[in-house]
């Protein structure tokens, strides 16, 4: 008896293991069979919707009498939304999705969200059964790469005519136009912000340092700061050199190109010789000036964003290149009396314009979406002025729709300062570009080395030309 039991147990064990092995191998060989049904299908749960938003949406849907015209026919079936949850939280998406599902009650909406969602959903994209709508943000997500991998629906024609819920042409409302890949548009910029140089207005006032408006003033006050011995004039995030690229180097490139941002497009296109052109050289020389004057805190070389921002908040450094999210990100560590000052660029000569280098996170529709109509309708639903205000209120950042934020007192002062710059005729908002990942890596390494005084502008340019050359060879 006992033995039989033991025997069958081992047999059971072995068969179980064999099955597991078979299952393990099986899944990979069947990558092509896309089973459309998502096994765990959770019908929309709007437990999070608070009453406040309820009333809001109701009034909205009532007033817009022609939603069908914008969104097409009645929507039904499954609709899956993938969104990354990071610094901006998930409040906005929860609210928007809840409102959307109220408008289209026949839609079964599934949310795939979280801080690791990009990795979690990757197998689905590879196997060709992606979600319908995707908000592309966070680690592991890269819009350009998704276009390269042919994962996103071509929205070129759609954008030409698409109107939002309020019946307004979406194209006209976008602050920043989408990146064109070989003339085609797939990801639509949803978040909008720009890089810039940040400082503490209060500290500057206390020491009677002048807030700089151009390069000469910047150098002058930096010298003053350095001579005071109180702090270093400038710190940057050496571990992630795209901060200094966005806040300093790229602004200088556009400034030296006579405020013509098309040079950035040419960089994205990896035009031969573009990284050796005169504007680039002049821009790098400006960085070199900072290095030679000893204005850059040597601590910058290897520290990450939190460390550099901490040092900045502790008044170890006066200026930091950063993105508009910095206030929100460091909320808990901002000392009392700290008053964020922001300037899009410092590299322009006296009397010149400000140059703002934008950043974004995009939204897109999957090429293999099962419900592309719903995904497009959702875009039309959120790309409205109303949701632009809600985004600003819920995240402290700006989205890419031109909207009047001054009415809302929940929008951060930094966002309002920034938005003041963008609306000014003295500011040039450069086009948004995404360099090829290989070239971008070389750019970051080179800029870090340049700011660290390890290489010359010439070496920077040579490295970039070589990297661009290599990438061009790879199709």
């Amino acid at each position: 008896m006992k033995l039989k039991w033991g025997k069958s147990l081992t047999l059971l064990l072995i068969t179980a293991l064999l099955l597991m092995l078979a299952a393990g191998c099986g899944s990979k060989s069947e990558t092509k069979t896309d089973t459309p049904a998502t096994t765990t299908e959770t019908p929309k749960t709007d437990t999070k919707t608070d009453t406040k938003t309820d009333t809001k949406t109701d009034t909205k849907t009532d007033t817009t009498t022609t939603p069908a015209e914008a969104a097409g026919p009645e929507l039904e079936g499954d609709f899956e939304v993938q969104y990354f949850v990071g610094g901006y939280g998930d409040g906005f998406w929860k609210e928007a999705i809840a409102d959307f599902s109220k408008k289209y009650p026949k839609l079964k909406i599934k949310e795939s969200a979280g801080p690791k969602i990009n990795d979690q959903m990757k197998p689905r994209w590879i196997q060709g059964s992606p979600p319908d709508f995707v908000y592309i943000d966070g680690a592991g997500a890269n819009a350009t790469q998704m276009v390269k991998d042919d994962q996103l629906l071509d929205l070129t024609d759609w954008l030409e005519t698409a109107k939002n819920e309020d019946g307004k042409l979406i194209k006209d409302l976008l602050i920043m136009q989408p990146v064109k890949y070989d003339g085609k548009i797939a990801p639509i910029p949803f978040v909008f912000g720009t890089w810039g140089i940040f400082y503490d207005k209060a500290e500057f006032a206390k020491n009677s340092w002048a807030e700089p408006k151009n390069w000469d003033e910047f150098l002058a006050v930096s010298k003053q700061i350095k001579d005071s011995g109180k702090m270093y004039p400038f710190i940057h995030t050496g571990k992630y050199p795209y901060y200094i690229n966005g806040g300093l180097v790229d602004t200088a490139v556009v400034v030296n190109n006579n405020y013509d941002g098309s040079i950035l497009d040419k960089m994205q296109a990896l035009e031969p010789g573009i990284f050796k052109s005169e504007p680039v050289k002049k821009a790098l020389d400006q960085v070199k000036q900072l290095v030679d004057a000893g204005f850059i805190d040597p601590a910058s070389a290897a520290i990450n964003h939190t460390d550099s921002q901490s040092l900045f908040l502790q008044h170890k450094d006066a200026f930091i290149p950063n993105g508009l999210w910095v206030e929100n990100e460091m909320k808990k560590d901002v000392p009392k009396g700290f008053d964020f000052g922001f300037i899009p660029s410092v590299t322009q000569p006296a009397g010149g314009k400000f140059v703002a280098i934008p950043y974004t996170s995009t939204v897109g529709v999957a090429k293999k979406a099962k419900n592309p109509e719903a995904a497009k309708a959702f875009m039309q639903f959120i790309l409205t002025e109303k949701y632009a205000v809600r985004w600003a209120e819920l995240t402290g950042a700006l989205d890419n729709i031109k909207a009047d934020l001054s009415a809302s007192d929940k929008v951060s002062s930094l966002s309002k300062q920034a938005s003041g710059y963008y609306n000014s005729p003295d500011t040039v908002v450069a086009p948004y570009i995404e360099l090829n990942a290989d070239v971008d890596k070389v750019k970051q390494d080179s800029t870090q080395a340049l700011a660290n005084g390890k290489i010359t502008p010439e070496e920077w340019m040579n490295r970039m030309e070589a990297a661009a050359e290599k990438s061009r060879g790879k199709k």
Binding site: L13, L17, G238, S300, A302, K316, K441
Partner: protein
């Protein structure tokens, strides 16, 4: 080897004299061995062999890691590796770490083990625990901790050095190509010493004290006792320690590098593992990353085999 006589006696001990009815002991023994080896083998195949084969397979493709399609390019990824200066530097860095970690971890481990056992130090139990603590910390924690120590502006190390200088010390240890690799060593060594030390303490304690007493009577110094008695009799453990350090370094130095420098500044601390990650997940060349993975596998195998060859000694029996 189990002898013929042993098998029935096992049955006896379990108290199942008639258990083998209809099955002779040979089949039973086979079944017994089968039950213990096959599941392990299956798991090994599933979690080791299959991924390795899959990785080798992917390394023959040009694949971004995200697209549905991959294009077969044969050995092009491997050819490209030959012309990649960063990869060459990464390999150099890996062996730099291997060399200094072996010296540091095994050297210090042996020293501490001998000190805590043979020198009859006071409070050896306390030191044993102190040295072992880093081993129960995650490498991630260690990396973050040492990042703070190295912080050029508010870090402990520069503050400490500043006590002895007139001007404030502001060395960016991880930000300067000249120091960055060296700066990775102390945390890596600190994290590994405890394990080797414990291993060797156990081994030294198992050496009969008579041997040392005899040595003392013959007038052997501590050093001579170490070279003539301790070293030969703990050689197996030292060998295991060295191999352990070598293998964990070649396969696992990724973690500490990624936490502390992400391969920077300017690729100065790139190791094969971090470069693999950079290529696969940051620059979207999964095929190339898999080829780097294959290279790590090959280099680890060669290194381990070569080391085993070099370190082969006649074993001394203690009886």
């Amino acid at each position: 080897m189990i002898t013929v006589n042993n098998a029935p006696s096992i049955d006896h001990a379990v108290g199942k004299p008639k258990a083998g009815k209809g099955m002779n002991w040979k089949t039973k023994r086979k079944l017994f061995i089968f039950v213990f080896t096959v599941p392990t083998l299956l798991f090994f195949c599933l979690f080791m062999i299959y991924p390795i084969i899959q990785g080798l397979y992917i390394s023959l493709f040009d694949w971004s890691g995200g697209s549905e399609t991959k294009s077969f390019i044969g050995f092009d990824n491997y050819k490209e590796m030959l012309n990649d200066p960063i990869l060459g530097h990464a390999i150099y860095n890996d062996y730099f770490l291997v060399f200094w970690k072996v010296i540091g971890i095994v050297g210090l481990g042996v020293f501490f083990a001998v000190a805590l056992t043979r020198f009859r130090m006071k409070g050896s139990g306390f030191f044993r625990q102190v040295f072992f603590i880093p081993n129960i910390l995650s490498v991630v924690v260690i990396g973050v901790l040492w990042n703070y120590i190295y912080n050029p502006s508010i870090g402990f190390l520069n503050s400490f050095l500043s006590l002895f200088t007139e001007k404030k010390v502001e060395i960016s240890y991880l930000g300067d190509e000249a120091y960055a690799m060296w700066s990775l060593l102390p945390p890596a060594i600190w994290a590994g010493v405890g394990f080797v030390m414990i291993l060797l303490i156990a081994s030294i304690l198992s050496i009969p004290t008579e041997l040392y007493e005899a040595g003392n009577l013959d007038g052997a110094t501590q050093w001579q006792q170490f070279v003539r008695i301790t070293m030969p009799l703990t050689w197996e453990q030292i060998k295991v320690s060295i191999l352990w350090v070598v293998m964990t370094t070649l396969n696992g130095s990724f973690v500490i590098v990624w936490i502390m420098t992400e391969g920077g500044p300017d690729n100065a601390t790139q190791v094969m593992g971090s470069y693999l990650y950079q290529m696969g997940f940051r620059q979207y060349h999964m095929g190339y990353a898999s080829a780097i993975g294959a290279l790590i596998l090959i280099l680890s195998l060669i290194t381990t085999l070569a080391l085993q060859r070099i370190m082969r000694r006649d074993t001394y029996e203690m009886s």
